[in-house]
């Protein structure tokens, strides 16, 4: 026997917190975008993203990858805090107590609503200490200048900080496939920096599966 009345705590059932129409709010008079918590959202025009890439390349050359990665780390740390706060407030459960399926669903909807494309987690290599995150249709990949390397350094930084905060271990993130190089999706491998280190040099000549095979040997 299931009592429907008992299922309705405070007569409220949490749904999709990140539903676009409910999450994104704009004020035309003030010219601002806000989320449903009242935090400011920033719309990034594609020319600005392209400008950041080319400006950084000009100013810092090869180091631009590291700059973007570190910016991503900073972004990811704040993103994690906001995400955790929103989830805890809305679903009434802390991120660490949330079932994996629900966490993933919230993260996926959050990713979509922020216009970052689609995200998924591949747990195949989790027993070996690696987590693979896949993203599709990333604006940071589409707008990056063409390169022989994967280009989503900003996202790699975001994911590294996000999952480090989530797991309370310092994790590094390495991109192993990139839409900008014709791959079906962007793949990011998360793991301890020491264990990921050998893969740094494999990126240019090995594909994702081969890199994972080498890492898991």
């Amino acid at each position: 026997m299931i009592s429907v009345a008992d299922l309705l705590v405070n007569d409220r059932i949490p749904g999709n917190y990140f539903a676009t129409d409910a999450y994104v709010r704009g004020d035309l008079e003030l010219g601002i975008l806000e989320n449903r918590q009242g935090d400011r959202l920033l719309a990034l025009p594609s020319t600005l993203i392209q400008g950041i890439y080319s400006g950084l390349e000009k100013e810092t050359g090869q180091a631009s990858r590291l700059v973007l990665f570190n910016c991503g780390r900073w972004w990811g740390k704040n993103f994690y805090n906001r995400f955790a706060e929103a989830i805890t407030d809305y679903y009434g459960i802390s991120l660490s107590d949330m079932p994996m399926v629900e966490f993933l669903q919230a993260l996926q909807q959050c990713w979509i609503t922020h216009g970052w494309g689609k995200v998924d987690i591949d747990q195949t290599y989790q027993p070996r200490g690696f987590l693979v995150v896949k993203t599709w249709n990333s604006p940071f990949s589409h707008l990056a200048p063409s390169s022989e390397h994967p280009v989503c350094h900003l996202e790699a930084g975001i994911l590294s900080a996000f999952f480090s905060n989530l797991s309370r271990r310092d994790l590094h993130c390495l991109q192993t496939s990139c839409e900008s190089m014709g791959a079906d999706c962007n793949r990011f491998v998360l793991g301890l920096a020491k264990r990921l280190e050998p893969a740094e040099t494999m990126i240019t000549n090995l594909d994702h599966d081969a890199i994972m095979q080498q890492l898991c040997q």
Binding site: I2, S3, V4, L7, N16, Q108
Partner: protein, 165 residues
């Protein structure tokens, strides 16, 4: 606001509304009392609708874990509430935006599509009994949209462009 009415007001910036445009508004106003009554019925009789559905679901699927069934029922209540709001505002887009992707993803994540199929069949039967044909006619388009969203798989990745940014 109702998207069609909003469009009518936008178009009629410097002129009077045309008869067909007023027709849209008239239709909205004429059906509003019915929609309000239906909304009130759904709100006030939610337990009366859902409890028999839950009981039947348990008896039709005795092998399923209670926690799984409870999760499905909670999602169905959420769907019912979203559909009720969509019906009140005569706005299918609202139901679509609230449930698209999320609903089918929930069903897939918990492999509950088979349970949901039974649940929505039972819910539809119960709604027909409680609401009656006139109110059901107002509510049904939203409910069948939600049923479609439950099983639809996204064909392409959702991005800012596909959600109209």
């Amino acid at each position: 606001m109702h998207p069609k009415i909003e469009a009518v007001f936008d178009d009629a910036e410097n002129r009077y509304l045309k008869p067909e445009e007023l027709g849209v508004l008239t239709q909205y106003v004429d059906t509003l009392p019915g929609r309000l009554t239906t909304y009130r019925a759904l709100r006030d009789r939610e337990l009366e609708i859902m409890q028999p559905v839950a009981d039947q679901l348990v008896s039709e699927l005795p092998g399923e874990a209670v926690a799984t069934l409870e999760r499905c029922i909670k999602n169905a209540i959420l769907v019912l509430r979203s559909c009720a709001l969509g019906m009140l505002l005569e706005d299918e887009a609202l139901v679509q935006q609230r449930l698209e992707g999320w609903l089918s993803q929930s069903a897939q994540a918990y492999s509950s599509t088979a349970i949901d199929t039974v649940l929505y069949r039972l819910l539809e039967q119960q709604l027909s009994q409680v609401l009656g044909s006139q109110q059901m006619a107002l509510f049904h388009p939203m409910f069948s949209l939600a049923q479609r969203l439950l099983t639809v798989e996204e064909e392409e990745p959702l991005t800012a462009a596909t959600i109209g940014w």
